[in-house]
């Protein structure tokens, strides 16, 4: 199945990016992607996905991610590793590092549902239809989730600084 593996390989950079934005932890993100790939390859021997491969892979990644979160809820408190210090420096014409750090923190304060949806569209550039299929929700639900996520993010960033930093 070389074609399948090549197609999966082409999606890996996007999966890593999305996983990193979800977790903000480079190691954890790559673990998620590895679990996702193992699972996809295992399922592949049984099933030729009918839908687009990219959406299918994102769906698997999210399932693995959510299951991890459920386990974390039961596990002793763990502190998320803030990877801001190792984020790539931004080009000069981009928002400054501090502004980016604020955005990253605000993103963390969205609900998981909002974060998952917004990142699929705003970071990964998926169409609404594709994102709705990844999240297995109706298109209308996806659209209101995106709207609420984006408005919540903005509200967090417009809030006075001392209210902004929670973690």
């Amino acid at each position: 199945m070389p074609d399948f593996l090549d197609e999966v390989e082409a999606c890996v950079p996007a999966l890593r990016r999305y996983a990193r934005a979800l977790t903000r932890d480079a190691d954890r993100a790559d673990d998620l992607v590895q679990d996702c790939l193992e699972r996809a390859i295992r399922k592949r021997s049984l099933w030729r996905p009918t839908g687009p491969l990219r959406a299918w892979l994102f769906r698997i990644l999210l399932n693995v991610y959510r299951n991890d979160l459920r386990r974390d809820r039961r596990a002793p408190m763990s502190f998320p590793i803030d990877t801001m210090a190792s984020e790539p420096p931004s080009p000069a014409d981009q928002p400054g590092r501090l502004a980016l750090a604020d955005t990253a923190r605000a993103l963390e304060q969205l609900t998981a549902e909002q974060r998952e949806a917004l990142l699929l569209v705003a970071l990964e550039g998926l169409s609404y239809a594709e994102a709705a299929s990844v999240l297995e929700i109706p298109l209308g639900t996806l659209m209101s989730r995106i709207a609420r996520a984006r408005e919540a993010l903005r509200a967090l960033l417009e809030a006075p600084p001392r209210l902004r930093t929670v973690k």
């Binding site: 199945m1 593996l5 999966v8 390989e9 890996v12 950079p13 996007a14 890593r16 990016r17 990193r20 934005a21 790559d30 590895q34 790939l37 193992e38 699972r39 996809a40 390859i41 295992r42 399922k43 021997s45 049984l46 099933w47 698997i60 399932n63 959510r66 299951n67 991890d68 459920r70 386990r71 984020e87 790539p88 931004s90 080009p91 981009q94 928002p95 502004a99 980016l100 955005t103 990253a104 993103l107 917004l118 990142l119 569209v121 705003a122 970071l123 169409s127 609404y128 297995e136 659209m143 209101s144 995106i146 709207a147 984006r150 408005e151 993010l153 903005r154 509200a155 960033l157 417009e158």
Partner: protein
Amino acid sequence: MTKTEPGIPRDTLHAYIDGQLSAEAHAAVERHLASHQEDAALVAGWERDGHALRALYGPIGGESVPPALSPHRIARQGHGRPTDWRKLAAAGLVLVAVGAAAGWYGRDFTEAGQASTATLLDKAVAAHNLYVGEVVHPVEVAGAQDGHLARWLSKRLDRTIAIPDLKPAGFSLVGGRLLPDGRGPAAQFMYEDHQGRRVTLYIKPTLESGESSFRFANTGPVAALFWRDEGISCALVGELPRDELQAIATQAYEQLG
């Protein structure tokens, strides 16, 4: 926060940012923004946040990928971490028989963790036996409302449950119900073929990760296949020959992923 002017709904402004509008609709929003500063400021703020997200995480998409994440390598290594059944699974699904009638309640289960499997089976078979004979109310929610059923049970189980379509095996969905299982909920889906034979699919959330192979057990005429998938444990129960049950279970397994 600013209110959107009449004529352009909020959703449309978001769709505009996300490039989801037709060329005409896109142009109409642009014209609107040119003459409505408040909306223009709103959109500019959202776009700035979008740029920030892409500046933060976009570069990761350009990094070189660690060798461990090469799909070719993962496939070659027989699916990586040698924790459980994965090597076996490389050759396809493996059926493991865990005992005949005597082993039903777990006396044959020797490995750790299998007590919970026995409980799962116990509950799945009990639920099967209780409801499969019901003519008037075999299910809580009929299969015709499968969208509603899937959303409802996904919410109650805190898992995305895609109700498997077993028509290729000749079984159509009768419906489903929510059941208690220990401290948590479980879902049962019932299917029926044209001869009126019924099978039930029992799904319970689990915090265990990874998958297991298919396992088979039977007691009298009732047989069950059970397995664990990412985040869920499943059992397919029915008075069917093992081969047939396995064909159906394989279809369910594929669609539940």
